[in-house]
Symmetry: C2
DNA sequence: CGTAAATTTGATACGTTTCAACCCTCGTGG
DNA sequence: CCACGAGGGTTGAAACGTATCAAATTTACG
């Protein structure tokens, strides 16, 4: 959804401008309602984590699923020979731990990128509760399905977009994720180093840095006066147009 | 699983050599038992497809899931601007259609790569049957979980391996998939063009061709006398060692 | 059998990585 | 208070791997 719904999201943002009271997007409602349902029908264990803490690690026995209530978490896949790859970023309402269901052991690390809270639910008790409350199962299946779609969109970007466009789309997706959750999208704080962003996008940190510099030079993004960790996005539409420009064969004024 | 279980799979193959009667691997049992359970407890619609036929297409309304009974199917993700990416290959026992659960519409195409059969089950009736037969739900969740893990392993390869190693690992994974299903792994027939393989692996067809030529020159694979569509793999261990060699920093004899 | 598609291979162009130098910020301790 | 060091970030120049373009060859198929 993230990668493909650029036009729609932009339209939704534009529509929001005229609203005096902040209206939550449909996706935002979905997330809020899902969290409410989980909270109401399950005995969750709340767990507070700080940057660098891991919710679970590869190889650990799988017993529970976790729902992100706040903060941002990265999923890191590791190969036996030491290569590692950030394969997902999870925001509020996203789930952690599905990778463990099949084998009974987790196949990647889930790490907090800043202070955040997860709600932990034993998988077996979730299944039991789902029998009484089918909506619960629907929420879980929806989360799994959405995650698969999102991962595939990420793969599409990595395989078909040049570095600059990947970085632009990354920023756009981050802003969209915030937007879905009713947060402001014009000013975003990346909780990742250039190296982490690069790993996630399949490029080196220098390439990320250069791409960001070019985006800033072209006025598509702006760095806050302080550090270069905060990014201002004057216009989300311009950002996604920038992605399209990288893809377009040649001279397309439109 | 595919990408990370190289050593184990090889060990399993070696163990099989001494057996006079063909023994099915643990994964093979899982697959056979899953198909049996589905067949016994659900009213499936069997559907025969030929190369190029699609099980479903992006945008289509989601109503059913499909289990591959024979043949190989590719999942193709499309972007609004026309880029397309093979994001998965599904073999016997794998499922098709999970991407539609979240939104009620499919987000990619599922296309037969040769003649094959899928068993189609309405999602709602599957949920009902799962209430009576929890093992059914376990099979479905296992399939989803396994697919997520496999996709992440593919992403890891694409982002961290050079072209030659990606092709070598692709062949190894293909052979492993056959092995899991009790099929011979020394002689495999790729049902994909170089362009399709390249798309799946995030490279151009010429690069695939060169990589295959190098593997053949080094004796790691052999082409059958007929076309270059059939590949013989004398030793799966040598193939995965070849992947490691590409990753190793420098001079590591062992 | 003839034609279109697929494959291989070479030469060159291009984008990203690599290596390196430098800058900035921030927390620490002399 | 400021020197200092560490980690993160930026930028340039050169090296590298893959893409692109082009041609020749083989294969598939009506």
């Amino acid at each position: 959804m993230l990668a493909t719904a650029t036009a729609q999201n932009h339209a939704a943002n534009v529509a929001l401008v005229g609203q005096p009271k902040r209206e939550v997007s449909p996706a935002g409602n979905r997330i809020a309602e899902s969290l409410k349902l989980i909270n109401d029908t399950l005995a969750v264990t709340r767990r507070l984590l700080h940057a660098g803490d891991s919710v679970y690690e590869a190889g650990e026995r799988f017993e529970s699923l976790h729902v992100v209530n706040s903060g941002i978490f990265k999923l890191v896949n590791l190969s036996p020979d030491g290569r590692e790859q950030v394969v997902g970023l999870q925001f509020k309402g996203d789930w952690l731990g599905f990778d463990g269901i099949a084998t009974g052991r987790h196949s990647c690390d889930a790490v907090a990128m800043d202070t955040g809270e997860v709600w932990t639910v034993r998988y077996d008790s979730l299944l039991q509760a789902s029998a009484r409350q089918p909506a619960l199962m629907a929420v879980m299946h929806g989360a799994m399905s959405r995650e698969m779609t999102r991962d595939r969109d990420a793969l599409l970007s990595i395989c078909t977009l040049p570095a600059d466009a990947r970085v632009a789309e990354f920023l756009h997706n981050w802003a969209s994720s915030l937007s879905e959750r009713g947060l402001r999208t014009d000013q975003i704080t990346l909780r990742m180093t250039r190296a982490e962003i690069g790993n996630y996008l399949g490029m080196k940190l220098e390439t990320v840095s250069r791409a960001l510099s070019r985006l800033a030079r072209d006025g598509i993004i702006e760095f806050s006066e302080g550090g270069r960790r905060d990014v201002r996005i004057p216009d989300l539409g311009v950002l996604s147009a920038c992605v399209q420009r990288c893809v377009a064969p040649e001279g397309m004024l439109q």
